[in-house]
Structures are given as structure tokens and as C-alpha cells.
């Protein structure tokens, strides 16, 4: 019979040998290191290929679904709510509203950054409400950013654009 209530405290013991950073860096325990050489090239698909081509031209494009009436951004070839193909392309503006933002002091490998990055979710004008993308903000002090702030995209010069989300350098506050 298993032990009944209140007679034991679970978990009764904690098995496991903790190691410190130095145990690893000074090789006090046996180790094996591996660095895989993985190279990927992701196909953008129908909708994102058009999206990237339009970015090269300095424009933002979305798709529309006639059934639910949404203008979907970033564009997809299907409407995931109606579960049917979308009905057409629509250009949207390169201005928008900040939905939420954060001031980041760390890089992708969790190392500290010297200058913080301001990242935000921007709901783009012309698309349905809440249709946002993530991007960085620039030309603004971190303390001055607020939810609801109006922003406009700052593009790279035409000859530097390569058809990537980074063709927009950052979004800056819209004056007025």
C-alpha cells in the first residue's frame, strides 16, 4: 500500500549533482563540444514572396478576405478564420500605431547591449484592427514612447534595399 496522507513529505529527496560555470569552463568534468554546421534557406512562399518584392519597391502589401472582411497583414494566401483562399491584394500605408513596446538591453544570445533597442508591435494603417508587425523604433528617446503613438516607416535608400524586412530601417514618430 502506498503511504497515506501527511505521513511523508513529497518530494522526499532531490537527486542531482549541480555544477558551476567554472566546472564547465575549467573542464573539471569530462565534456564533449559540438558546433553543427547547419545552413538553411527558407522558401518565402507565395504571399511572402510578393511581400518581400513589394518591400524592395518601398511598399507594404496585405491581402483581403471578402467573407469576414478582414485586411490581413502580414499577407497570407489563406484566411485562417474562414479557412478559404483570400480574394485579392491591397496596398497598405507605411504609417501605424504602436500597440505595445519594450526597451531591450539584451541581444539574441542574452548578452548585454550597449545601446538599448526599442522594439514595438505596430498596427499598420489600412489593415484591419490589430493587424500588426514587430519592428524597431528609432529617432525617439525610450522614455517618450507610449502605447497609441503614431509612427512612420523610415526606408533604406532604393539601391540598398534587398527585399527583406530590414529594408525598413526603423519607425519614427509621426509629427503632428
Amino acid at each position: 500500500m502506498a503511504v497515506g496522507r501527511k505521513k511523508i513529505s513529497c518530494p522526499p529527496y532531490a537527486e542531482g549533482t549541480a555544477l558551476s560555470e567554472r566546472d564547465i569552463s575549467e573542464r573539471r568534468v569530462t565534456l564533449f563540444e559540438d558546433h553543427p554546421n547547419l545552413v538553411y534557406s527558407w522558401t518565402a512562399g507565395q504571399a511572402m514572396s510578393r511581400f518581400l518584392n513589394e518591400l524592395k519597391n518601398g511598399k507594404l502589401i496585405a491581402t483581403k478576405c471578402e467573407k469576414c472582411g478582414r485586411i490581413i497583414f502580414p499577407p497570407r494566401i489563406y484566411c485562417e478564420l474562414c479557412y478559404k483562399p483570400i480574394d485579392g491584394w491591397v496596398y497598405v500605408k507605411d504609417t501605424g500605431t504602436v500597440q505595445t513596446f519594450s526597451i531591450s538591453y539584451i541581444d539574441p544570445d542574452a548578452r548585454p547591449l550597449e545601446k538599448p533597442v526599442i522594439v514595438a508591435v505596430i498596427a499598420v494603417d489600412g489593415a484591419s484592427p490589430n493587424m500588426g508587425i514587430m519592428h524597431v523604433l528609432g529617432e525617439v528617446e525610450p522614455e517618450k514612447v507610449y502605447i497609441g503613438m503614431r509612427v512612420k516607416a523610415v526606408w533604406k535608400p532604393e539601391n540598398e534595399r534587398e527585399g527583406a524586412i530590414t529594408d525598413i530601417k526603423y519607425w519614427k514618430p509621426l509629427e503632428g
Binding site: M1, A2, V3, G4, R5, K6, K7, I8, S9, C10, P11, P12, Y13, A14, E15, G16, T17, A18, L19, S20, E21, I24, D34, Y40, W42, A44, M48, I72, F73, P74, R76, E80, L81, Q99, T100, F101, S102, I103, S104, Y105, I106, D107, P108, D109, A110, V119, A120, V121, N130, M131, G132, I133, M134, H135, V136, P142, I147, A164, I165, T166
Partner: protein, 400 residues
């Protein structure tokens, strides 16, 4: 748009499911043992509590998060022999951070369907293999075209969600920091805890900024660890113990990876999963009918966010409950009495040890110093993960 996913579901099952044993290893930033050895220790502890031998186990479910952490592709297969998978049907499930409660749900299917009478559920994680920091493996969750060129860190989405939650509900960081203070203090009574300590709200607000508003003491650490649970059919439970804990409801739901198209202040996917689990468990008023809860708390604001998703508090009300002490161990609705991920550690899927295993121990009155003050009948545990997509919920009760 409210989508009623529960309407068409039929909850036919062959037999009820009980939990009779649980086990876990310590959670630490880096452990010497391999993943196989960690799984073995967790399973051994669970078998000891249940009074069973490995030969009594009929099927095994393993839950483990991305292969990228352990650096071993086909990780489920690699962990098999340590998890007791030799000579019996073995399955790996994985749904990001939600695996901690999803693996027991998969174990539930095995027994409720009648395919097995004794099913072992194991979760294991070795995040320390990934250098320089486990965060590096998270780089590959992001969309390669829209997000990765901006060099994001996963903390960014949590920071964006936290900011939205604070803005819509008008909540101050001080109220959110109370959760971190509570959980880290609760974890002082947990033998496996990694970062249990007594801190104050000022400590949280002055800690190192990561991606504001998220600061270092708002976040749970990456950990290595393993946990195990044993689920059995009613006739086996009767032979083993007078007081099994029954699984009365399960639910899971996912939302889209187009996370920028959602309003982040409310976790809709958790609400959908909870609706499914509550319907199965015949719970109509979660705030009154749930006695103890373990929502997933990798960040302090997530505990509040999930409490609202689980229906334990109205939208915006969760910080008020925390401030008034309702969610403390001696309160009316104790939340994360184990210390949660903020206090004990966050080994992604092995967080089952502080979620599902903790609710089981609380309902079996075996949680020792962590036992909540009030009488408990029904508990809920929940996990969450991926790109803020998945909600997995399990409701348990010690009365059938």
C-alpha cells in the same frame, strides 16, 4: 472573435484516471547527470511513492521540449531507456512550454481510452548543454522572414505582452512584482528549488533590466531537471492506495503564430483550454470551486495573466487578489504554493514537477511544509508555451 470550441466535443471515455505517484529531481542551472540518468531518478522516485515496479508499467509517455537545448536530435528516442521505455509502447509529445501539463494529458488518453491500465509520464530537460546561454536556441522559434532579421531575443515578446497587459488593465509593476516575491519565498520550502530566496518588491524593481518592463527578478531561470507521474485505472488505484487523486478534466488549445495580429492582454488560448477542462470536470464557477491552482509562471506577470485566463479572477482583478493575500498559501485561493517556476526553476517541460506533480501532492496532502492551510478538494494546473500560443490545463480532484 470568440470561438466556441467546446460545443461540439463529446467526452466519452472508457475508464477514469487516477494519479498514484510522482517524482522529480532537483532543478539547477546545470547538472552533471545526462538526460537519461535524470529521467531514471525521477521515475524511480515516482515508482517508490506508488509502490510499483517498472515491470508494472504498461506504456510510457515522454514530454521534452526542443531538441535544440539538449543538442540531440530525436531526443525522445535518446531518453527512452532512462525513462523506462524499453520493452513497452513509448511516445514523445511536445508542445513547447505547455508540455509540462500536456504530457500528463497524453498519459490521460492512454488510460482513459482503456489501452493501458498503468501509464508512466516522464518529462526531462537539459537546457545547460546549449552554450553560451539556452536563449540562443530560442532564436529559431521566430519567423525567419519577418522577425529573425531584427535579431530578437525571446524576452521581447514577453516584455511586449507584459506592457500591453499593464496598459489595458492599468496595473503598476509594483503589483506584479509581488508575485515574484511570493513565489520565491514559497520555494524556500521546496527541496528541489534553484532560486528560492526572500526578496522585496524594491529588489525586483531595481534588478538588472532585460527588456523593459521585464527585469531580471521578473524572470524564471533556465534549469536542468526531470519529473515523473504515474497514472492508473480505477481498479489498480484501489489496490495501491485509499486516496488516489483523480484527473477530472483536461483541455488544450493553440493560437496562431501570427502573434502580432492578436491583442496580447488576455490569453484566449488558455481560456479555451480551461473551458474544455472545466466542462469535463463539471466546474461552472472556477473562482469558488477551485481550491488550489498552479498556473504557469515563467514571468511574474504571467501568473496574473493566466489566473485571468483560467477564470480564477476577472480581467484586471488578479493583481488585486495578490495584493490582498488571497493567493498566498494561507489564503482563500492559494496560487503556486510550490514556489512555481519563479522560485523552483524552469526546465521547460520538466516544470511538470511544480505544476501537475504539485497539485497531485497538495490534493494527496503530501506536500509537507508547502501544504496549503485550507481543506482542498479540487485543483487546477496549467502550462503555456511556444510563441505565446498554447494553453494546456488539467483539473484534478481527490473526490470522485
Amino acid at each position: 472573435m470568440e470561438v466556441e470550441i467546446v460545443k461540439g466535443l463529446k467526452f466519452h471515455k472508457k475508464q477514469d484516471v487516477a494519479i498514484v505517484g510522482a517524482g522529480m529531481t532537483t532543478f539547477k542551472r546545470r547538472l552533471l547527470e545526462t538526460g537519461k540518468e535524470l529521467s531514471y531518478f525521477a521515475v524511480k522516485q515516482a515508482l517508490e511513492e506508488a509502490g510499483l515496479d517498472i515491470k508494472d508499467i504498461e506504456m510510457v509517455v515522454m514530454g521534452s521540449a526542443p531538441d535544440a537545448f539538449d543538442g540531440t536530435a530525436l531526443k525522445g528516442e535518446y531518453l527512452l531507456d532512462g525513462a523506462g521505455g524499453s520493452d513497452r509502447p513509448y511516445l514523445r509529445v511536445f508542445v513547447g512550454g505547455g508540455t509540462g501539463v500536456f504530457a500528463p494529458i497524453a498519459g490521460y488518453w492512454h488510460v482513459a481510452s482503456g489501452l493501458a491500465d498503468v501509464c508512466l509520464v516522464v518529462c526531462e530537460e537539459k537546457m545547460s548543454c546549449c552554450h553560451p546561454h539556452p536563449q540562443s536556441a530560442f532564436k529559431y522559434i521566430w519567423d525567419p522572414i519577418l522577425d529573425r532579421p531584427l535579431k530578437p531575443n525571446l524576452i521581447w515578446i514577453f516584455a511586449l505582452e507584459m506592457r500591453r497587459y499593464m496598459h489595458v488593465n492599468n496595473i503598476k509593476h509594483e503589483d506584479i512584482a509581488l508575485v515574484s516575491v511570493k513565489n520565491k519565498a514559497n520555494a524556500l520550502d521546496h527541496p528541489c528549488a534553484q532560486v528560492a530566496e526572500k526578496i522585496t518588491v524594491e529588489d525586483v524593481l531595481n534588478s538588472e533590466p532585460m527588456a523593459l518592463p521585464v527585469r531580471k527578478l521578473d524572470v524564471s531561470p533556465p534549469s536542468d531537471g526531470a519529473a515523473a507521474l504515474i497514472m492508473v485505472a480505477p481498479h489498480i488505484a484501489r489496490q495501491l492506495t485509499d486516496e488516489p487523486v483523480w484527473v477530472t478534466g483536461v483541455g488544450w488549445a493553440l493560437d496562431t503564430t501570427h502573434w502580432t495580429n492578436r491583442d496580447l492582454y488576455f490569453p484566449r488560448y488558455v481560456a479555451e483550454a480551461a473551458k474544455m477542462a472545466y466542462r469535463m470536470a463539471h466546474i461552472t464557477d472556477p473562482r469558488k470551486q477551485i481550491d488550489v491552482a498552479e498556473p504557469y509562471d515563467p514571468f511574474d506577470y504571467k501568473e496574473l495573466h493566466h489566473m485571468e485566463g483560467l477564470g480564477l479572477a476577472k480581467k484586471g482583478e488578479a493583481p488585486i487578489l495578490t495584493r490582498e493575500g488571497v493567493t498566498a498559501r494561507d489564503g482563500d485561493l492559494p496560487v503556486c504554493p510550490s514556489g512555481g517556476l519563479l522560485g523552483v526553476g524552469n526546465p521547460i517541460s520538466a516544470a511538470m514537477g511544480v505544476k501537475a506533480c504539485e497539485i497531485y501532492w497538495q490534493l494527496a496532502y503530501r506536500a509537507g511544509k508547502r501544504q496549503v492551510a485550507k481543506e482542498v478538494t479540487t485543483g487546477v494546473c496549467q502550462a503555456w508555451g511556444d510563441l505565446m500560443q498554447v494553453g494546456t490545463v488539467m483539473v484534478m480532484s481527490n473526490k470522485r
